[in-house]
Subunit: 310 residues, 2 copies
């Protein structure tokens, strides 16, 4: 791959920036930096240029802006609105598999109206994070012709805005969602059959995130299945899926490739970034990686999955 | 590998033979042939010689004995006791992930006392299916020195006979159990840490079966992770874990290898056999495979998991 960020094509990433209060069996943290766009952008920043399109409140501290800038994120699209930043509070049980949401305060995120500035319209990769599908399409319409549009969503939109979501799906290239969302979106319990159904609605590629079990990628011709990296010290799964998406899209943008073998390597880089992220609270670990660590873990993935032919 | 069954070392397989009544969202079957030893032996029969060590009642029909013989299983160790054959009744919900046991009648299986005959004592591979750990050790003691001892167990024995199970674990080479059993046995939610703990109790290798998510193999030096084959038509998951074990041990016995790369291929063959088994009710699919189908699916696994180096 084109190592590092030189000559790579940038990503415009729309999503949430939030304060998270997190409790896991291993401790808790109050109001740490969070949100889907945060995890996505920090993970992707190791591969390529990323511009954030999000909204925060007046209470958003300068130190976090400074952190974004230190990771070379373009924060010119980060709107600062009157009011408070989005807050989420959640708790994980013994097995760390599901977050129990204790409180959600949308605050300024409730009125988020993403405006793509002239300098971002030409970006070649667009990541539509998990926001209202109406807004996802609004962002897409404001763009010139991005080479690749990658989209996330969640159960809330599948239930409440299905029609709008279906319109969004018709305009994207790659959908990145989890197991349960895949089954729910397709109304089909078998994840492979569910995936094939979803591919009929627009996306050419579906990536199914399976948490500690890895990821599955489907397109018209093939299925790719990758395990998660076996992490012995999982302290906080918050943002794992967004970190995965950041590594996945980041790698694709860094190389400009989108052939099947690049997509497969991108899945592995996604899993690498998620595996780092879960090792510390919030996005702490994503702030302090080196590209050598990332490449080394990619190579460990080969050891993890390789078997010889007959 | 040594294709087919010639020159391969045999397996003695102890476990249950039962009548299963199964209900899934795709239909139901009354009193079909089942039991852990049945699924294991049918799956392993494609790779090597298998001798069954189990008990059935007087009601066990000649047609099933005939079926075993047609698959070249050695049924000389199949005891026929006064009474009825073990019966199990279960139901699967929409996602097919967990069986809800509706009824269990142990019948002759309650007094099963496995006796290893002189002709089986020298067999080189021993599979201790999911039975009372006291009986597992009794079988092991009756054997000459098997080259490889592979063992299964379940939550019931982990809870009720933990001390005895620990003694069994001290005498085996490979433990093959599922996720939940791994966590429960070790009292540890992280499956990798749980696995390392279990490896300290005797087995050199731990295989963790994860159903639709594949399998994980741990030993002192490495971790191997393999996905499940993506099956679009899962109609009955009964016996998937035992079919997996049959393919896994069958391949090891067929080749006689136990180096890391053979163990990895064995995991893939286990996944192959499980993937066939779930496609039909009971062990129907396992009765009618060809070795070419098995090899072809092994090769499809490579397509499913392969990615290129950096």
């Amino acid at each position: 791959m084109e190592r590092g960020r030189e000559n790579s094509m940038g990503i415009l990433a729309v999503g949430s920036v939030a304060f998270d209060t997190i409790k896991t069996p291993f401790g808790q943290r109050e109001e740490v930096l969070g949100g889907s766009a945060t995890y996505f952008s920090l993970a992707a920043s190791y591969f390529t240029r990323v511009a954030l399109l999000a909204v925060v409140g007046r209470d958003f501290p300068a130190e976090y802006l400074q952190l974004f800038r230190e990771k070379d994120l373009d924060v010119s699209g980060l709107q600062v609105a009157n009011g408070s930043t989005f807050r989420w509070k959640g708790e994980y049980g013994f097995d760390l598999n599901t977050a129990n949401t204790l409180d959600t305060q949308l605050n300024v995120f409730a009125d988020f109206d993403p405006v793509v500035t002239a300098q971002h319209r030409g970006m070649e990769f667009l990541f539509l994070g998990n926001i209202d599908p109406d807004l996802q399409r609004s962002v897409l319409k404001q763009m010139d012709r991005p080479r690749l549009v990658i989209c996330d969503t969640m159960n809330f939109w599948i239930e409440k805005k299905r029609e709008s979501l279906m319109q969004t799906l018709a305009g994207i290239d790659i959908l990145v969602i989890n197991d349960a969302e895949t089954r729910q979106l397709a109304g089909e319990s078998n994840v492979i059959r569910a995936g094939r159904k979803i591919l009929g609605w627009g996306p050419r590629t579906l990536v199914v995130k399976r948490g500690e079990y890895g990821a599955l990628m489907l397109d018209g011709n093939s299925v790719f299945s990758s395990p998660a990296f076996p992490v012995e010290e999982v302290v906080d799964p918050t943002g794992a899926g967004d970190s995965f998406a950041g590594g996945f899209v980041g790698y694709l943008a860094a190389t400009g490739d989108r052939d099947p073998s690049a997509l497969r390597r991108a899945i592995i880089f996604g899993s690498v970034m998620a595996s780092f992220n879960v090792g510390e609270f919030g996005p702490e670990r994503l702030q302090a990686l080196t590209f050598t660590e990332i490449e080394n873990r990619f190579r460990e993935f080969r050891q993890l999955t390789h078997f010889e032919d007959l």
